[in-house]
Symmetry: none
Subunit: 208 residues, 4 copies
Amino acid sequence: MSTDRDTSLRADARRNRDQIVDAAKTVFQEQGPEVPMEEIARRAGVGVGTLYRRFPDRDSLIGAVARDSFGRVRDEVRAVTAKEPGAWETVARLLAYSREMRVMVQLGFSERARTIKSHDPFVRGIQEELTDLLDRLVVTAQEEGTLRPDIGSGDFSVLLSLLVRHLPAAQEELADMVLHRATAVILDGLRTPGGPLPGRALTAPEVL
Amino acid sequence: MSTDRDTSLRADARRNRDQIVDAAKTVFQEQGPEVPMEEIARRAGVGVGTLYRRFPDRDSLIGAVARDSFGRVRDEVRAVTAKEPGAWETVARLLAYSREMRVMVQLGFSERARTIKSHDPFVRGIQEELTDLLDRLVVTAQEEGTLRPDIGSGDFSVLLSLLVRHLPAAQEELADMVLHRATAVILDGLRTPGGPLPGRALTAPEVL
Amino acid sequence: MSTDRDTSLRADARRNRDQIVDAAKTVFQEQGPEVPMEEIARRAGVGVGTLYRRFPDRDSLIGAVARDSFGRVRDEVRAVTAKEPGAWETVARLLAYSREMRVMVQLGFSERARTIKSHDPFVRGIQEELTDLLDRLVVTAQEEGTLRPDIGSGDFSVLLSLLVRHLPAAQEELADMVLHRATAVILDGLRTPGGPLPGRALTAPEVL
Amino acid sequence: MSTDRDTSLRADARRNRDQIVDAAKTVFQEQGPEVPMEEIARRAGVGVGTLYRRFPDRDSLIGAVARDSFGRVRDEVRAVTAKEPGAWETVARLLAYSREMRVMVQLGFSERARTIKSHDPFVRGIQEELTDLLDRLVVTAQEEGTLRPDIGSGDFSVLLSLLVRHLPAAQEELADMVLHRATAVILDGLRTPGGPLPGRALTAPEVL
DNA sequence: AATGAATGAGATTTCATTCAT
DNA sequence: TATGAATGAAATCTCATTCAT
């Protein structure tokens, strides 16, 4: 199990806990981590008191969401690279379209969430593993010649993180097309060795 | 004059007003539009009372900032395309590195700011003009063969808006390199006709 | 049996009840009667649910503690005065050093507890008997010439109640010495007919 | 000026501040330092917001009350001992009947208030000076032969602190008589060299 | 006109009490 | 019956906005 769910909870309490984390993930993704706690509780279908029994304050809830999302992202990337070590496009699309990634990045916007994450050993551990996975992915893909040679895992991360944000779209129906097309352009930019990039290849730890 | 500054104000009142808008722009860019009003007032070096005399509520301040920033962006794009109608790279770099663009996009994150902007005729006017400028820019550049033919002004806007966001960078010194490299990759993706893009070319009004 | 323990309870339920009253006594003495119910339950080693099964609300728990403590104090004073009707010093030291007295007085600090006690017929009954015991003690001791003649059982109670409170002591080891010395000074003040006291002798019912 | 009032406040703000401290002093004395902030605000005739503008949290209000009360007590003791260095009875009565002392002692009941006071350099300074004043007072009085020789300034403090607490009194009219008589008995105990006291003379720093 | 003090509505958090397991 | 999870009312605290100086 990649997440820190406490399996010792009573069944109903456990269900509530999961609903709370899930609701929080949804609203964090939509509105960032400062949403009223009542809103989260309401969406989870519980009273505020219940929320506070599980998570003594907002920070601890943010931490739980971060651990859950990071864990899932790590698992997905692990699974793909285990099968095809150089499948950078698959990974890129996976992450660009992943709800869990969106939460991660959305949490990255708030100084508060960033602090919490950086103090959480579990999250840091996952981050390190992700860094390693991406490093290997980039190197392998460049050896295979599918990925331009002058970028590093850091550049790759940055470009992915861009796609994960709320993209503008006046009409809701277009949202997916907007995302898919932007993704495709960026993948094209990554594939072809274009004009020389300024500076030097960045590694993931330099940007995450 | 591109902005709606009231030239009938006394010189000192005018100075105050400008300081407030400037301070608001700065903190909006850093922390989004929900910063405490006192913080804005403090940074502007005035009392809250003065802020409220100029801007009866937060919405009106957000509106003023939006009008100011949009106006300046429009002016810059106008200036460049007047000289070289197909200079899409120049425009792209201009916007990617512009503080005013950053404010605009940061305001785009908040539902509240989006509503305000969409109800402001002045902003809508600028937006329409910007849309036209971008349309012409894209078409001209595609005729010149410097820009891939399968994108529209909407796709172009989306990709620019990505670059304008806070990019991740663990070390502050790297921030600029991160931005410049990401910009270069995206420009490469826009230049070369790569794999076929999914869907159809999007126009600016569809995404802004 | 001096207290109102329900002898019809099953053995384990009875043990629970006693543990709860004892835990409550301890924390009431330490922190007053507004401690969180969970804290009391935890110290008693039971769940809150069990606590509430025994005592439907906080008031009823306070009442039970009061009845228990008052009962024990009454029993002790009874025992001493039965043997030596004028042993005022013995009684004074007994009470000054008694945990049960401390609880009683601590409960006296809170308006809430005072109300509960004054509405509880059992406690009132004990109080009346205590009053009588003290009256007789004071009169006898004054006839024997060991207690100054110008004080009443009320003054006596007041001075005892002072000793029963948390005395200040920066170092914990000194706590006992602090208490013993203060007690001795007060007993000296009670023994010797010193300067004339202001007002008139007070009776116990006037102050309790 | 012995207290830390900020004389730079605007007149009305200053008046409000004083009213808040005064109201807090009153309710702290009556109910201890955990009274609802709204209650304090109401008694001071201001909104909660005003209270929080002056005192960002409860601790800071407790601190302000402590500084104010300690300062006044110190000033009074200073004044008396300056005129008559051995006037221990005057000082004792002064403190026993002083509202400021009552607040100080009431605050001493709460662990929280104790922590705050012990971290406040201003309060600590006053405490040290008070300690010195009492030391000298006790020594002088013992040289004059009016105070029993076997007590220290610590014992003296303890006995005074007892008098300062809420004394029991069923009828409110008797409260004063109760206090005056208890004070007189204790002063008698302090005057006459009675039976030998257990332990050794305690100094003020040992108990405060 | 500018200031910053006061207000009170809303958000966070705690805890007495009830109720499902 | 015992447990501890859920609830919601009450307390704490923040901040947008108004108003006295």
